[in-house]
């Protein structure tokens, strides 16, 4: 049994090494980084973080990212809820085809859509707004949310619905007061996955923004090229992008696997 535990430990160590290096570098001065190799920061500094928290172009990057990710999560989960209910409870014309078509949207490479997206959102006057990125990310997040929620709803027996109707509940009241609390784990997982995929996606977010709604990840790319090679700053910015994910993941830790299996374990 002891020998067996070695495999996960080695794997986690492998996962943590590059992250450690990023965090260690964020506490070093640029001089120290460029002057040579050191396993731990020799002159521990918070300067890199100070720059990020005081310079608006930096911290607005974070606010922008969090704004469009939140808008996207709310939209995705809200429209996916009734749709998932329909898929899990009713048969209707074209339901299977529609369900599969939703999945195919995950297969389209974002690189393919970058330019048409730019033209589309410029044409409707949404370019460089948080809403544009939030709506664009719906392309892959809504199908995902529908799949996950449908998986969770499938596990709720239909008798629950029927009993509620017999008891005289109207549909909206049943849905909000009885059904939603029953699948709240599913809603949490769906929201988590929408958050996650919107947070990590950069190509579309970068294409659809210029100044006003620019995501943190794009700010980083720009700094890397314009200000020479400020590795310490880059490392600090990178470290800060890991934190939101680490926080939200803690809340759904017991359901992550079920979410990745699209609610079907």
């Amino acid at each position: 049994m002891k020998k067996r535990a070695l495999i996960p430990i080695l794997y986690i160590a492998f996962l943590m090494l590059p992250i450690y290096w990023l965090v260690a570098m964020s506490f070093k001065t640029t001089n120290e980084i460029l002057s040579g190799f050191s396993l731990f920061p020799q002159t521990f500094t918070l300067e890199n973080y100070r720059v990020i928290f005081t310079d608006p172009t930096w911290y607005w990057g974070y606010i922008n990212s969090i704004l469009y990710v939140s808008i996207n999560t709310v939209i995705s989960v809200c429209v996916a809820l009734p749709a998932a209910y329909a898929f899990s409870r009713y048969r209707f014309l074209g339901d299977k085809q529609l369900f599969f078509w939703l999945l195919t949207n995950r297969m389209a490479p974002a690189a393919v859509f970058a330019l048409p997206f730019f033209q589309l959102y410029s044409a409707v006057g949404l370019f460089d707004t948080h809403l544009a990125v939030a709506l664009a990310h719906c392309l892959f997040n809504i199908p995902l949310a529908v799949w996950i929620l449908e998986g969770f709803m499938g596990g709720v027996p239909k008798e629950l619905d029927e009993t509620a109707y017999v008891d005289g509940y109207s549909f909206p009241r049943f849905f909000v007061t009885i059904f939603l609390p029953t699948i709240k784990a599913g809603v949490g997982v769906a929201a988590f996955f929408c958050f996650m995929f919107s947070w990590v996606e950069l190509l579309l977010a970068k294409t659809l923004t210029a100044v006003q709604a620019k995501p943190i990840a794009a700010t980083m790319t720009k700094t890397a090229s314009s200000a020479g090679y400020e590795l310490g700053l880059l490392a600090a910015a990178g470290t800060l992008t890991i934190i939101p994910g680490a926080i939200v993941i803690y809340f759904v830790r017991n359901y992550i696997a079920k979410g990745f299996a699209l609610g079907r374990v």
Binding site: W21, P82, P109, L202, I242
Partner: protein, 287 residues
Amino acid sequence: MKTQNQKAWFFVLPVLVLVAFNALIPMMTVVNYSVQETFGDNLFFWEGLGWFEQILRSDRFHAALGRQFMFTGLILLIEIPLGVIIALSMPRSGFWVSICLVTMALPMLIPWNVVGAMWNIFTLPDIGLLGYLMNTTLGINYDMTQSPFAAWATIITMDVWHWTSLVVLLSYAGLVSIPDAYYQAAKIDGASPWKVFRYVQLPKMKQVLTIAILLRFMDSFNIYTEPFVLTGGGPGNSTTLLSIDLVKIALGQFDLGPAAAMSLIYFAITLLVSWLFYTLMTKDDQK
């Protein structure tokens, strides 16, 4: 059983409108470009299927497609078995499960370009942890910007680092859903660990592994940001995967026609292979 109810369409309508807005309009734009030639100034000429022929015959496309299949193939060959092995050796209950799940899921929550930048910093020959270890401590000449082999090894390692956890989490979810009674029965029959794996665990993991392979195929086939940030497609063209090449043609050279045609071919290949995987792996269930 589900009841027949056409009114259910009203529930689906918002999803349909939002996804169609994002999927159909850009897709039609791409189709539109793919059959036209442009010299700028918004002047377009009918080109027919010329671009498709040109792309399908071009050596550049074949080379990029070959690299893409090699990348995806290697990724699947490494990540799927590795993920299953790690899931099998994880604890089934207790305090350590949460620790394992959270730390393993962490890489998947890092923005993709940060993943690329992080691995870039990690592998710098003089000042990166891995680069320093390889070059100075082990004395292996390792420089991504010089050697195509090193570049390939690095993007593969990066993807293994980034996504193996997905396979682990899915396999693990499949494993914990096996009732204890199955193991007890296997024990009474005196089954070897291999037999337990082959006849008890693997069948139970089949569904989740199907999802894992499909997701890993789709995502690795469409990968763009991480290798682009890490190697930029170099040295030379050695790590120019399909999507990197596509963006080069579309935004670098602004050849919209060929880029659009290539996009559609690309999408068609992804759809076809995914569908093949899916039908092959679910074939047994329908018997």
